[in-house]
């Protein structure tokens, strides 16, 4: 019996919670012969194992890197607080799961940046890896720290900590980057020269080669390369052939239960609906569908290779996938035989989806989800959410007739132009859905005689590359007042006993807003707040708003500058140097239309000229269908 080496001693592993998070060795994890490896890549997810292991993007990149013969990609997740403390006390360096080797032995430390509230966990990982936190202080002996993921569309608050940000989809440029790296390594050209060459690869943003100049009011005057040969702007990378690209046929199967404990089948990328608050809907344009025959093959192969008992479709709006009925029929047929569950998130509620759902889930136990996002038709027009009250009530009636008794509703508070009337609309719509239940289900057929409406509100945070990037965000006090108004309006409804209301924390939404539209000056706030002991901010029990406020104060930075201020149409944004496909002109047009309460048709119906056609494919080059279902 060959003992496999572990980074942590038995004493530590026996002391900490869920030691299985740190031992690697999962089925399908990739172990390579170190002596044959040229480039070692540590793929880091700055959150706990259970969340990081549920992320499809990492699995895709893990598969892609490991398909390169002389590259070995391994996984790293944020150690939990119990282990974090021990690692600091005993000076144990952050290690990768597969080899259990310290991250400092690697060539690259890749960090995926999925949400703003994980920024401090990035510092935790750098710190535990025993690297200087600031990129400018790292030397030849340290790995190249590269960031990717949705938050890199405004990487500026993190600019001081990273050597490179990869802007866009990971499938396209890593091979180029690795080959430039190998060249520089073999010729011993050094870190700075490698970064200089990397900065010329499309999609690569190397913050050290850019300077920011500010106006007196702290808005940006100019954002310029500080060396010749460094591009002025960076265009996001897009994988235009989503069918013939990397997809992990052998995803790693965790031992412990993780958030997504299932096969994930990404059916398409992008979304045709231009909801004006939604960042993903803009960032992942144009819509690109995967070939349905390929998806069927993937489904069977991945189920066979993992042994998972569930498969889930993934996309921003599954109902808009053109071959959905065919794919679902196939899955129901194949999975039924093998006792495999099918999970179908992000489906529009209509006769088709209700029929499908009644086949794949226990109607009595499951609930239906609607995301009207706003309480009135007026405000839904402002945000370009096509879903109408009529459609929601019709869908609910169908669902109640089909035996469902639980409905979840998602709304946002603090959307641009919102009035008290819009807020009351949330309560009234919830009430009407409850009333629909009592209308369509006769007394004798009511299970427990009850219907349960769960109405949840989140606070709206304006994001870069959306039409609302110019919009002011509410203050914490305004947010809480709106939640209070919602609660009050719900208690005034006839069916209030059937409605349960949940709302989010306001502090975190304010901070998320600061970081989302932040600039480079925030790097020092992040450093300061981390020094005060803050990380795992995404976990409410570890979030300390007072420490964040202290850090802003000590750095002389006013968080309101990033949130409550309405930006003028000609302001230069920190993220303007990134070309995400959608043009600023388009976003501006949409922002003005929003204020006029005008809607824009979805991509399948009519092209809005957003700019994504520049990538030369996807829906931008398909025929339009003026009769395409408008609701979502």
């Amino acid at each position: 019996m060959n003992e496999i080496k572990l980074a942590l001693s038995d004493d530590i592993l026996m002391k900490i919670e869920k030691p299985a998070r740190y031992i690697g060795n999962e089925y399908n994890s990739v172990v390579k012969d170190k002596s044959k490896i040229n480039v070692r890549f540590a793929m880091c997810f700055p959150d706990v194992y259970e969340i990081g292991m549920s992320h499809l993007g990492i699995q895709i990149l893990y598969d892609m890197f490991n398909s390169m013969e002389d590259v070995w990609c391994e996984r790293v997740y944020s150690p939990c607080l119990d282990l974090d403390k021990i690692m600091r006390e005993e000076k144990i360096p952050l290690f990768a799961l597969e080899s259990q080797d310290p991250v400092k032995d690697f060539d690259f430390m890749g960090i995926t940046i999925q949400y703003e509230m994980c920024y401090t966990n990035i510092l935790q990982m750098l710190d535990l890896a025993q690297f200087p936190l600031l990129a400018s202080e790292r030397g030849e002996e340290h790995p190249i720290v590269i960031g990717g993921g949705p938050c890199t569309y405004n990487p500026e608050p993190l600019a001081d900590f990273f050597d490179i940000f990869y802007i866009g989809e990971g499938e396209t440029r890593y091979e180029d980057l690795i080959s430039v790296y190998k060249e520089c390594k073999s010729q011993k050209l050094g870190r700075e020269e490698f970064l200089r060459r990397a900065a010329r690869i499309p999609g690569m943003y190397v913050p050290r080669f850019y300077d920011v100049f500010y106006n007196e009011d702290n808005t940006i005057k100019a954002f310029l390369p500080n060396e010749k040969g460094i591009p002025m702007s960076i265009t996001k990378e897009v994988e235009m052939d989503v069918t013939n690209t990397y997809y992990p046929m052998k995803p790693v199967v965790p031992y412990i239960k993780v958030t997504q404990d299932r096969v994930v089948l990404e059916i398409q990328r992008g979304c045709i609906r231009g909801c004006r608050f939604c960042q993903a809907g803009q960032l992942y344009r144009p819509v690109r569908e995967r070939d349905v025959e390929t998806l069927k093959r993937y489904a069977l192969e991945m189920l066979k290779n993992t042994g998972h008992e569930e498969i889930s479709l993934s996309s921003l709006s599954s109902s808009d996938y053109s071959k959905l009925p065919e794919l679902i029929d196939f899955l129901i047929d194949e999975c039924g035989k093998k006792h495999i569950n099918i999970s179908l998130p992000s489906l529009r509620i209509d006769a088709f989806s209700l029929d499908v759902m009644s086949k794949v889930q226990d109607v009595k136990k499951s609930s239906l989800t609607f995301a009207p996002e706003a309480g009135s038709q007026r405000l839904r027009n402002v945000i370009n959410k096509g879903l109408t009250e009529e459609v929601i009530l019709k869908g609910s009636a169908l669902a109640f007739e089909g035996g469902w008794t639980r409905v979840k509703l998602y709304f946002m508070l603090g959307l641009p132009t919102e009035t008290e009337e819009d807020i009351r609309g949330i309560a009234e719509l919830s009430n009407k859905i409850a009333a629909t239940f009592f209308d369509v289900v006769p007394k004798e057929k009511r299970v427990n005689g009850k219907v349960q409406i769960v109405t949840s509100t989140s606070f709206f945070v304006p994001k870069p590359f959306t039409p609302f990037q110019w919009a002011p965000q509410c203050t914490k006090e305004q947010f809480l007042e709106k939640a209070y108004q919602t609660k009050k309006a719900i208690t005034e409804q006839l069916n209030q006993k059937s409605i349960k209301y949940n709302w989010h924390e306001a502090d975190v939404s304010v901070l998320e807003g600061v970081l989302a539209r932040g600039d480079r000056r925030l790097s020092k706030v992040l450093l300061k707040v981390y020094e005060k002991g803050c990380f795992y901010d995404a976990w409410s029990e570890y979030f300390h708003n007072d420490k964040w406020m202290e850090a802003f104060e000590e750095c002389g930075i006013d968080p309101d500058f990033y949130t409550v201020r309405e930006r003028s149409l000609d302001e230069i944004f920190p993220w303007d140097f990134i070309n995400a496909g959608v043009t600023k002109e388009f976003l501006q047009r949409e922002w003005l239309k929003a204020q006029r309460e005008e809607i824009s048709e979805n991509c399948k119906k009519k092209c809005q000229g957003c700019g994504a056609a520049r990538f030369g494919g996807g829906i931008c080059f398909e025929e339009r269908d003026a009769s395409y279902e408008a609701e979502n």
Binding site: M1, E3, I4, L6, D10, D11, L13, M14, P19, A20, I23, G24, N25, E26, Y27, V253, Y255, I256, K257, L303, K304, N305, T306, G307, H308, E309, K338, H339, N341, D362, K365
Partner: protein, 246 residues
């Protein structure tokens, strides 16, 4: 030669008893996760496993005795119900082809129809126990053991949620010896009287005024047994002794 045991619908299922080991890093995986591991491995191996009825069917599976996190084992058992197999050897090979380092299926046998399930069958378990380097007690164990075994009662204070409960371990220690710096023990592992190896060693050291150091023991479960005899006249055999190879 391969034997096809396909059963017709409506007929009863075939129960397999699977023996496996657990060592290396996977010793830090808890009991429920080992169960999950096998549920997935069985699907990967394409075993014709039986599922329960109802809206969320699950594999019909029973584990003999949970193994505490950190322990290694050469004798873990689980029962699985299947519709058909090609042969016991085939099931074993298929499972090992989709396993991980540290979990290896050692044998697969078909149980007689009336066999009790693995969990209910457990009567005893054998262990080998060593001290970790640097955590050995001062006590000369070889000298101390005969007197310890000759006692009428071996008392041990077990901490429970409700407070401390005094147990007498004596009745549950069937064999205990110490050779080559290693304890060999056979003890009660039934649900009513389960004894953990550490409890015995703690009791032994306490007799001589010594405390067991934290995480001082390296414990391997060697095998798990069922009782073919009676309460008073035990005939302990490995859990899969009652099965047969097909």
């Amino acid at each position: 030669m391969a034997v096809e045991y396909a059963l017709k619908k409506g007929m009863h299922l075939m129960k397999l008893r699977i023996k496996f080991n657990k060592y290396g890093p996977v010793r830090f995986i808890g009991h429920l996760d080992v169960m999950r591991f096998f549920q997935k491995a069985i699907r990967r191996a394409d075993i014709d496993v039986a599922y329960s009825q109802g809206f969320s069917p699950h594999q019909i599976m029973s584990f003999a005795q949970p193994l505490s996190v950190g322990l290694t084992s050469n004798g873990e058992y689980m029962d699985v119900e299947v519709h058909s197999i090609v042969s016991c050897e085939d099931v074993k090979n298929r499972l090992n082809a989709v396993s991980v380092p540290g979990i290896e299926v050692l044998s697969v046998k078909v149980l007689p129809e009336n066999a009790e399930n693995a969990m209910a069958s457990v009567a005893a378990a054998s262990y080998t126990v060593r001290f970790r380097e640097g955590r050995e007690p001062k006590l000369n164990i070889t000298e101390a053991l005969p007197a310890f075994l000759a006692k009428d009662n071996i008392l041990y204070n077990k901490e429970t949620k409700k407070g401390i409960r005094e147990l007498d371990l004596k009745q549950g220690i069937y064999e205990l010896s110490y050779r080559n710096n290693c304890f060999h023990m056979l003890v009660d592992a039934s649900s009513a009287g389960n004894i953990k190896p550490g409890q015995i060693i703690e009791a032994l050291l306490k007799e001589h005024g010594e405390e067991l150091q934290e995480n001082a023991l390296l414990i391997t479960r060697e095998d798990t047994f069922l009782n073919l005899g009676t309460e008073d006249d035990r005939k302990l055999v490995p859990l899969d002794e009652i099965g047969m190879f097909v």
